[in-house]
Amino acid sequence: MSGLRQRGVALYNWFERRLGLGTPIVEAVEHEVPENTSSWWYVFGSAATVLLGLQVMTGILLALVYSPSASNAWNSLQFLDHNVKLGWFLRAMHGWGSDFMIAIVLIHMAQVFIFGAYKFPRELTWIIGVFLLLLTLGMAFTGQVLRFDQDAYWGLGIGASIMSRVPLIGGWLVDMMLGGPIIAGPTLTRFFALHVFVIPGILLGMVGLHLWMVLRLGINDWPMPGRIVRKSTYVREYHELTTRTGIPFVPDAAWKDAIFAAAIMLSVIACALFFGPFGPTGQPDPTIIQTAPKPDFAFLWIYAVLAYLPPSLETPVMFIAPVLGIGAMLLLPLVAGEGEKHWSRRPVAVLMLAVIAVTLGVFTRLGTYTPWSPIMEAWTSDPIPLAYLHDRTPLERQGAIVLQDKQCRNCHSIGGAGGLRGPALDAIAARMTEDQMVRQVLQGGGNMPAYGNALNPSETTALVRFLTTLRGNDLSPATDASRHLALSSETPGTPTPPRAP
């Protein structure tokens, strides 16, 4: 046994004499860190790195089978899912790994922000971290394109349409993005090159820099209220803290990172097992237009924002907002490089984080059910609820048929079924008078198209008559205040309206 051990040591020494890497690596992993950095809050960066490793590994394995050609990519994914042993599982791991990676990177960023870890001397570490976030999102978008299905195809269409709005060079950008006149073979190969070579290369290099700086500058010490970062004193204070309370990173602090990384890996495996791979959805055939394209989870909030921007503001916001947002993130450590780190002394930072998190959350939630989108198959679905047909005249019932036939429910719900783009119609007569409804139907307005050309007069009459019977739980019908006034002024003596509006 001791002979074997000796031989092992000799072998190590043989390599070490030539490589010389062992000593610096051992020194690096055992370097002393302040005791207060051994925290469960400090595990996200390492978990993101481990996830990147998983993505690289599963990505290479998928590349063994995937065919980056527009005519075959979708088929090769089907082949992976159904014909290659455990191919579905590798696809699922890669897909879930990417979602987890984005989530962990965002959490890591929020933690660093709220702990003030971007302040001196770690400004550049943060700036590179911002690029790492952008690169991670770039990997997510290009990866979604490689899953060459309907969503990927129309997602490219959305990307090209956004590019086309750039002033002056928009057309040029679209050409560069698509690699040809339409979304086709050359488009997929460029995104393949980006996803497999270009972005991962930059990403790995920047992760290396990021880690190097963490080692060089030390892990951010746990913030304390009143312990203020000053460029003149911080390095000395950090050094003193490390000598006073230092513990070796491995093993004393790193075990938490290791446990968390293992938990995250297990979660990825569990999600992959239980939920399986993402798509591919329908074939990337643009002639199949029965589709409602949607981006992957990480981009749902952008999809929602694009639905809510007013047309005239959309292009400026599309290009100015990202510049401002990314610029603010990059400049943050340069502007606020000193001062308080503790969250209890940085209310604006806490508020900002809360507002950003809630905003992203709300828009993402909206993106999951797209209330702005017409429900394209609504007219074939549920009929008008029976309760709404009771005690109606034949004309009113005819109106219910018009409502069904003219696909009003693509945008309006009635009895809980239908689109959310327009208001629900169950109590419409309590809010609009007959005249207002006729005007709204024929001329449109707000967000509603005009139906003057799509309805003949009898259809309009029937439809509006039906709508006037929809008063929810017997609410009082809407009245035209001016009409009432006109009537009362014509016949003096009639009582004034009983209720103030």
Binding site: M163, M176, P286, K406, N410, N447
Partner: protein
Amino acid sequence: MDTIEQNSQDVQPVRTEPESVRSAKHSRRAFLFKLSLLVNGAVGAVMAVPIIGYLLGPAEKKDSSYDSWVTLGPLTDFPEGETRLVNYRNPVTTSWDGQTGDVPCWVRRVSGTTFQVFAINCAHLGCPVRWFAQSKLFLCPCHGGAYYADGSRASGPPERGLFEYEHKVTGDTLMISAGKMPTLANQARNETPLLQIEGADSAKRLRAVEQPVPRCGSCQG
């Protein structure tokens, strides 16, 4: 191991100091090194030309050079007053484009030989619009853009109406000029977005009524 480490520690300072003394800036070696940098810079610049040319290749062609006349089918395929989905093979494709080389478009035969051919891509962000014959609207599933039968903007986020293909009737067939994905960059026309009749129009009319007609100051009478 120890010997190597010690050696290197011993050697390094010895090596570096005299070198910095020896390598005066005007020495032949320093000049040759600078020259080599210059040569490599020149080689790099020469190499960059084809690389950048290759990269920019897709953007160099003029938009119109992709377009050519594509047959959509005999006129009998398009009943008057109806709007139908027609697929065509894009005139510019690679052999590995597969299904992505097929492009759909909406053909509206107004009457006789009066046609309108709309791109499938919504003018907002390029999603596929669908025609609803009953409500006489094109609706977009992505962000809810809506267009009237003639392609003009009805509501929602699009700034303008649907993109239209140039078309012609040759003999008995309908042809369109196609080849490039229509986007705002290559289709942008100065088209004022349709104003909703309700607010904007009546407000404008009111303002027009209220404002006195500007008088000609220099005119007599």
